[in-house]
Symmetry: C2
């Protein structure tokens, strides 16, 4: 073992890829026993994967109407040679233009993006790593408000050697980032001899589903300018907005605040969430810093987007009518789905953090914890994964400082599967309540713990067999453990 360790690198033999966590364990549980309405109705339902499958129909419609966008059929094959040979780090000019325009459109057309500042990365995963390589040396740190995306350990830190310094947020103010918490985290890091190079925010937030308002963004800009550190705004959920208010991007605030140092400001974007195309590996770094654009472009050689995919997307995103319809439709579908799910939870007394974005809710199960600790959270989580058979993700995976919160994804499945998931939660909570009214002695009887499941199965299985459900297996067919970005 020691010899093997010497043989490989420290990166290969440390665990900073972060896959040894309940977040990924939940995926394993799903992977071993995936739900299928007819073939495996008792299987685990995947609610740990932030995937947007609600709008893929619109994209398919567009593709059927535009065969010329393919370089692999008679209508498009005349482009094959040029495209297959193209490997410019800058990307196809029409791809950069289309992405820049789309980014503006996603932000309500209130801001424009310069195609010459579009730098490609291999998905948001690659883009986040790329910007870290540009901005920080091994051992340097980035502040990241908690709760935050579990795979940030891998993306920001695994190969770059950059540390994450959490900025603790909690439910007392709905997990909002305060200047006090930022200053405290910054000062503590400095006292520990850590060189803080920047702040990474996710807006809209994964896992919270909340967005930052203009004033908060301004205060963040003021904070980073004061400290002369960077801000990286991961805005990969910018178009998954279903509230009535506009989403405010850092790019809008940059144009309003005249005295900020633009060299400190960088945006990460992707099409995996907003368009629901994670397989296409489109990651973007948009930097206001010329040196970062130049350097990042050289680095993008390690994770360029396939030119075949660039060409398809350039054609699709240049179609303004399609983009407008897609964004409006996507927002509508997300709103409806979010409404159905949160109302279903409300009926049994489960509340979620109020949100208006994302593909998930931040569900509060504190009242179901046996003890208000991480251990209590993990115990409840294991019951939910193993017995209720829902893969949801515990807050501790997101470095949440407060136990009892769970991220639950609602957009990677069809209506029927969501219905099954809700019924399981209802049955489980009903069972919990029933147990609470029983004498203490019988509470832990194993036979009792399982009975909700039996009832549940009887209650909905007949319905599933009766209805024609359009290939629901296609909703989550892949090994989720190894998904590149969630």
């Amino acid at each position: 073992m020691e010899r093997q360790h010497q043989l490989l690198s420290k990166i290969a033999t440390n665990d900073r890829h972060g896959e040894n966590s309940p977040y990924f364990d939940g995926w394993k549980a799903y992977d071993k026993n995936p739900f299928h309405p007819t073939d495996n109705p008792d299987g685990v339902i995947q609610m740990g994967l932030a995937e947007n499958q609600l709008s893929v129909g619109s994209i398919i419609d567009w593709i059927e109407k535009h065969p010329e966008a393919s370089i692999c059929n008679p209508e498009g094959v005349h482009m094959f040679k040029d495209i297959a040979n193209f490997q410019d780090y800058h990307g196809l000019p029409e791809f950069r233009q289309a992405i820049a325009k789309f980014m503006g459109r996603v932000r309500g057309g209130r801001v424009t993006f310069d195609p010459d500042r579009i730098v490609m990365g291999g998905g948001a995963t690659g883009a986040n790593e790329l910007i870290m390589f540009c901005l920080a040396d091994p051992g340097d740190a980035f502040l990241v408000p908690s709760p935050y995306y579990p795979a940030f350990y891998r993306d920001l830190g695994w190969r770059t050697g950059v540390q994450i310094v959490p900025v603790d947020c909690d439910s007392s103010n709905n997990f909002q980032i305060t200047k006090g918490a930022l200053e405290a985290a910054y000062d503590k890091a400095r006292q520990d001899g850590i060189n803080v190079k920047g702040l990474t925010i996710t807006n809209p937030s994964n896992p919270l589903g909340t967005t930052l308002d203009r004033e908060t963004l301004k205060s963040l800009l003021s904070f980073i300018n004061e400290k002369h550190i960077h801000i990286v705004c991961d805005e990969i959920y910018a178009a998954t907005i279903f509230g009535s208010e506009n989403f405010v991007s850092i790019s809008e605030v940059v144009e309003e605040v005249m005295d900020c140092n633009r060299d400190l400001i960088h945006i990460v974007y992707s099409l995996s969430k907003d368009m629901g195309l994670p397989g296409f590996r489109v990651g973007i770094v948009y930097s206001y810093n010329d040196a970062v654009v130049n350097c990042g472009r050289k680095m993008s050689s390690f994770g360029l987007v396939s030119s075949q995919t660039q060409y398809l997307l350039a054609s699709m995103l240049s179609d303004e009518e399609f983009v407008d319809d897609f964004l409006a439709g996507s927002s509508k579908r997300l709103k409806k789905r979010h409404g159905i799910f949160t109302k279903g939870l409300e009926q049994i007394g489960i509340s979620c953090l109020e949100s208006k974005a994302g593909l998930f809710v931040w569900m509060n199960l504190r009242h179901l914890l046996k003890e208000q600790t991480n251990d209590g959270e993990m115990e409840l989580w294991r019951v939910i994964v193993n017995d209720v058979k829902l893969n949801v993700s515990p807050g501790s995976s997101f470095h949440c400082v407060e136990p009892g919160w769970f991220r639950v994804c609602f957009a990677n499945m069809d209506d029927e599967t969501l219905d099954v998931a809700l019924k399981r939660i209802h049955a489980f909570v009903g069972e919990q309540k029933e147990r609470e009214t029983l004498p203490t002695k019988t509470k832990d009887m194993p036979s009792k713990t399982k009975c909700w499941k039996k009832n549940l199965r009887l209650s909905f299985s007949s319905r599933i067999f009766e209805e024609g459900i359009g290939s629901p297996i296609a909703m989550s067919p892949h090994s989720p453990l190894v998904r590149a970005r969630t």
Copy 2:
């Protein structure tokens, strides 16, 4: 400037990306003034880009016959949803199977590859970096026989911090790698306190076009086993073989040599050269080491191949008849092209290193150097780029220890452009000879230096205007400076 340096990382502000070299300067010269037979007949001809454009017609034929391989037209769109959502680090099972089979077929079917050991990287660029991240820590070194691919500085070392220790080879034995040279480089590195973690070879060699024989491969395996260091075999030109003998891959030798430690052996592969599809960014690490496969797969999250492209290639490469025809046809076309070019050079007394692989020749212009030094080489190179207007690459870019060698690519252009290039070389060498017979005094007259060009233009321009040449501009339409892999 100092502030900017502190603001960004050491990686962003060092020059280890290696783009400040004559190799890339030549590309700039082409980029500013690209040759076109009618629009710009005096422009620079791109002979610095190792791109295989000779067989793209076969691929286009296949695509026209197999519209179902596209997920972007009526025949294939039913797969769109599954494919666009797929982002498993392992890759589509059918993609891994097809690549593994293709790798075996390219190596004459004498060896089989296990699909479960196929790890994806973002092109060979990303694959080479990925394997370095797995094997070596910052400051560690890899031995690399010279001359070697100029962008290895970027690929192997820029972000990983890994050093390259050249193993000097020269023309005295046709640039063959000897155990003596390896030992000397290894010992010298150790004396300098450098931790040598492995050896990277390119077989077939870029820039030499030569291949390693079985005995040499065995001696390399014996060397790395003795030192307990890794060997990474970059075999991205494995199918660009046009000699009569078989190419021998390290994978064959691994199966023959029983007492070698397989944990030390890794192969890098790509479809950019052998299939001529650099835009598709298919890089592969094939490792015999389980820990590297597991770790590399996690790292491939930073540079996955677009699932759209995986699907297309899985379909194409699974067609055995197509693959057989493609490989045979490609080899034939390369042989013919290589023959025309080297014979053209022979006619004016220019010899090349004997080779049987690759998309380039290693051209010996030592007799044209004013002095046998790097400066002499650079002086001649500047004349070739600026006056003869051919972008060829000087040996010094490849860390060649012997001045006067140039890499010249011959497969990225059509027959007519190659003909123009040969005529220019003929005229240039004729001019050089003429100058040698003149009294010393007049040798450096500027008017004289240019006269070959005038004659040359008259001699072939009429022919070009007469003949119908199928869109030759499509041969090299892109900014070559930023090409991802050469």
